[in-house]
């Protein structure tokens, strides 16, 4: 069985002198595929951001012509004034792109691909060709989704949650083909995710280097592993639901249309049964990578490694039984509401454990505030806000008031931007030297971090306040309502902050691109880390190591008394190190 891996690896070690096309485009090397996902998802991150800017213009300056808006076709913005139907498409596609085409592939497509083999000491994924397929299936999915903007009727406009019947019948939304493309694209993307997850799970179980026991795996790998399991089991639910929705739209079925017994709430149950594990798919890998970076920055082993692992598993499990908290006001049986509230409250516990363990890791450390570390600490700070604001919505009575208001918009952006995206900026900066062999510029990195941190908070924190005043989400023109008119200055403020937030991302883009050219050459281990990936050149050769590394230590042996330096790499053999002690750390 182990010989299998070697034979596969053998096979393409021979063909490494391949054409450019086979090496960089249709590559089966997990590192190249990871980088391909990086480019693709950063592109979608940019598109998603642009859509958000247009939304913010409309909310800050309702029904005023948008600067540059005249460049848009008449069907979107006649005279530069955004149409309500185009606004709904913006709302929908911003959410869809960010969740499915930016954050999820950035976390999973990029880092599961890049890190799993490198951190486990494997030469590649278990199924390299399947891995390539999963990228090349994701591309047409993105194209299908984007195509929505260019077809008659415009892009899908029923929200990223596509609640039926609005999404199921073109008579209600005015969007037919766009809505169908939305479903089709997600089914295709789902196939890509499932193939990816199959690959990651198999690789983690079967391809660990000798000595890489389960409890020597870095937390990034643990979280990516649990994420892959969630992806594997949750995505097919979405695929099934999207197919049924597609049939409602196209061939006249009535799964979610109430006329002849169909159930609109069934869509919500299916969507959120997928959707809540999805929420953890979007945060667990971030937590894992932040753990790696915080241990590195603090120069200390992770505080309570085992409970961190159990917390990841606990979140992965509890994530399946909380979906009803999205539906407290949906007309679902109120008794069920209470049940879902309790399970939702409980999921706060593993998150609290993780937060306190990160603090425990910083405690008495020797903290290096490098750029990835800044982002990781911002992750902790912001995730705390996002986590705590979740408690308000978990409380069923309070949720009556804040449900579907800007409070939830604030909450989800604190988790997805403040959480996942800060973690991603940190992770990209951290592993950039491994990917491209050059360091990103730390000065630009710090400028980008502080400005992003500032404008991010100025953009999203005031949204809590909008929500408290009852400001509904997804409305085109808040000034239509008497009780929202006094909030318009705040809306304008948020819009200006959002523009600045978007603008300062240019620093990241410049840093990312320029460092590729003229960044400082990276040594194999520029951050003085303990992970296996830092024991091979930057960037690693095809096959990753000339010889399979052997693992001798737990993942985060920083400041170990066994060695002079303040880091002990997992594969460094030290005389006198107790063989078993390293894997049992308590």
């Amino acid at each position: 069985m182990a010989t299998m891996a070697a034979t596969i690896d053998h096979a393409h070690a021979h063909v490494d002198d391949r054409s450019f096309l086979r090496k960089y485009i249709f590559s089966t090397d997990h590192k190249i595929i990871g980088i391909q996902f990086l480019m693709l998802s950063l592109l979608f991150l940019l598109i998603g951001g642009l859509l958000a800017m247009m939304m913010r213009w409309e909310l800050g300056f309702p029904t005023q012509p948008m600067p540059g808006g005249t460049l848009l076709p008449e069907t979107m913005a006649p005279g530069g004034i955004l149409l309500p139907e185009f606004y709904n498409s913006l709302v929908t596609m911003h959410g869809t792109f960010m969740v499915f085409f930016a954050i999820m592939p950035l976390l999973v497509g990029v880092f599961a691909n890049y890190l799993i083999p490198l951190k486990l000491g494997a030469p590649d994924m278990a199924f390299p060709r399947l891995n390539m397929a999963s990228f090349w299936i994701a591309v047409p999915a993105g194209v299908l989704m984007l195509a929505g903007f260019f077809v008659e009727g415009g892009a899908a406009g029923a929200g990223w949650t596509s609640y039926a019947p609005l999404s199921a019948n073109a008579e209600y939304s005015g969007v037919s083909l766009g809505q169908e493309l939305w479903c089709l694209s997600l089914v295709v993307l789902g196939l890509s995710s499932i193939l990816g997850a199959t690959n990651y799970i198999t690789t983690v179980i079967n391809m660990r280097a000798p000595g890489m026991t389960w409890f020597r795996m870095p937390l990034s790998i643990w979280s990516l592993f649990i994420t892959a399991i969630l992806t594997l089991l949750a995505i097919p639910i979405l695929s099934g639901a999207a197919i049924m929705l597609l049939f409602d739209q196209t061939i006249g079925t009535t799964f979610f249309l109430p006329a002849e017994g169909g159930q609109p709430l069934l869509w919500q149950h299916l969507f959120w049964f997928f959707g809540h594990p999805e929420v953890y798919i979007l945060i667990l890998p971030a937590m894992g990578m932040v753990s790696d970076i915080i241990a590195n920055g603090a120069r200390k082993p992770i505080f309570g490694y085992h409970s961190m692992v159990y917390a990841i598993i606990g979140i992965g499990f509890l994530g399946w039984i909380v979906w009803g908290h999205h539906m407290f006001q949906s007309g679902m049986n109120p008794t069920l509401g209470t049940t879902f509230m309790i399970s939702t409250m409980l999921i706060a516990v593993p998150s609290a454990i993780k937060t306190f363990n990160w603090l425990g890791t910083l405690w008495r450390g020797n903290i290096r505030l490098h750029v990835p570390m800044l982002h990781a600490c911002a992750f902790v700070a912001m995730f705390v806000i996002g986590g705590l604001s979740g408690v308000y919505m978990a409380s069923t009575p309070v949720d009556i008031y804040i449900h579907d208001t800007y409070f939830i918009v604030a909450h989800l952006h604190y988790v997805l931007f403040g959480g996942s995206l800060f973690a991603l900026f940190g992770a990209i900066t951290f592993w950039y030297p491994k990917m491209f062999g050059r360091m990103m510029n730390p000065l630009l990195g710090k400028a980008h971090f502080w400005l992003t941190f500032l404008f991010y908070n100025l953009t999203f924190f005031p949204m809590h306040e909008l929500g408290l005043q009852g400001h509904m989400r997804r409305i085109y023109d808040p000034t239509q309502y008497a009780f929202l008119q006094h909030l318009q200055p705040l809306n304008e403020f948020i819009t200006l902050s959002a523009f600045l937030l978007f603008a300062v991302q240019l620093i990241f883009a410049v840093n990312f691109i320029m460092s590729w050219w003229n960044g400082k050459k990276a040594s194999p281990n520029p951050w003085e880390d303990t992970g296996l990936e830092w024991s091979t050149p930057s960037p690693p050769p095809h096959g990753n190591w000339p010889e399979t590394p052997t693992v001798h230590h737990a993942p985060y042996e920083f400041s170990s008394p066994l060695v002079q330096e303040d880091y002990l790499m997992q594969n460094r053999k030290v005389e006198g190190a107790p063989a078993a002690a390293a894997s049992r750390t308590e």
Binding site: A2, D16, R208, A209, G252, T253
Partner: protein, 225 residues
């Protein structure tokens, strides 16, 4: 550097699942398939419980005898698959090829019979969207006359939707299985499988048995209950 990997000794990995990658991968993938059919079957159960009045009696619209025969066929193909695997283990190339061909043929016949069944149902007027206007079924339902025993439901749109979605996606899985099985058979004819290494046969067999099992569940809940 590029060729360094060539020199690598066989990777002495940590003990994993104790099975080779492709087999583990198939098990993992089937986990995903289970969830896909769970979504379809779960929706079916919820929709049906809320709307018994929109469901026809078993065998009222659906052709149960022909499908029962088809079910029997598909179970037979699981047997031929087991035989093929046993032959592969014994290194009996001739038997392996024979049983694989039998499995491909039966699988293809299953799909063919299902297509025939669909054609018949559509002809009758049973569509994923319910009755076809002006069809035999639609007229019987509108008139309230007994049809194969009792009156037809006023609408069968959910019945049709769930029926075609579930059996259709199962048929799609069988079709995919037949294509992959044909590929494995082609490889078997080229002598790719030996008594010591016949992973392809084992892995496609896992998928085949899974698809079979799903059918037995679907046949029970869609046709018999």
């Amino acid at each position: 550097m590029a060729h360094a990997a060539v020199m690598r000794p066989p990777a002495p990995a940590e003990p994993g699942a104790g099975v080779y990658n492709a087999k583990l991968g198939m098990w993992v993938f089937l986990g995903s398939e289970v969830m896909f059919f769970t979504a379809l079957i779960g929706s079916y159960i919820i929709l049906r419980f809320g709307n018994e009045q929109y469901w026809a009696q078993p065998a009222q619209i659906l052709n149960v005898p022909i499908t029962a025969f088809n079910t029997f066929w598909l179970i037979c193909s699981s047997v031929t698959m087991v035989k093929a695997f046993a032959a592969a283990q014994d290194g009996n190339q001739k038997a392996l090829r024979g049983w694989l061909v039998a499995t491909v043929v039966i699988g293809a016949m299953f799909v063919g019979i299902q297509a025939y069944e669909y054609a018949q149902l559509i002809h009758l007027g049973f569509l994923p969207s319910g009755y076809r206007a002006g069809s035999e079924l639609a007229e019987a339902a509108a008139a309230g006359t007994p049809y194969h025993g009792s009156a037809l439901p006023a609408s069968v749109s959910l019945y049709g939707a769930t029926f075609y979605t579930m059996t259709g996606f199962h048929g799609f899985h069988v079709t995919m299985g037949v294509i992959c099985m044909a590929f494995v058979t082609w490889k078997a004819f080229r002598g790719s499988y030996t008594a010591t290494d016949h992973r392809g046969v084992e892995v496609i067999g896992l998928y085949w048995h899974f698809v079979d099992l799903v059918w037995i569940i679907l046949f029970t809940i869609v046709y018999l209950i």
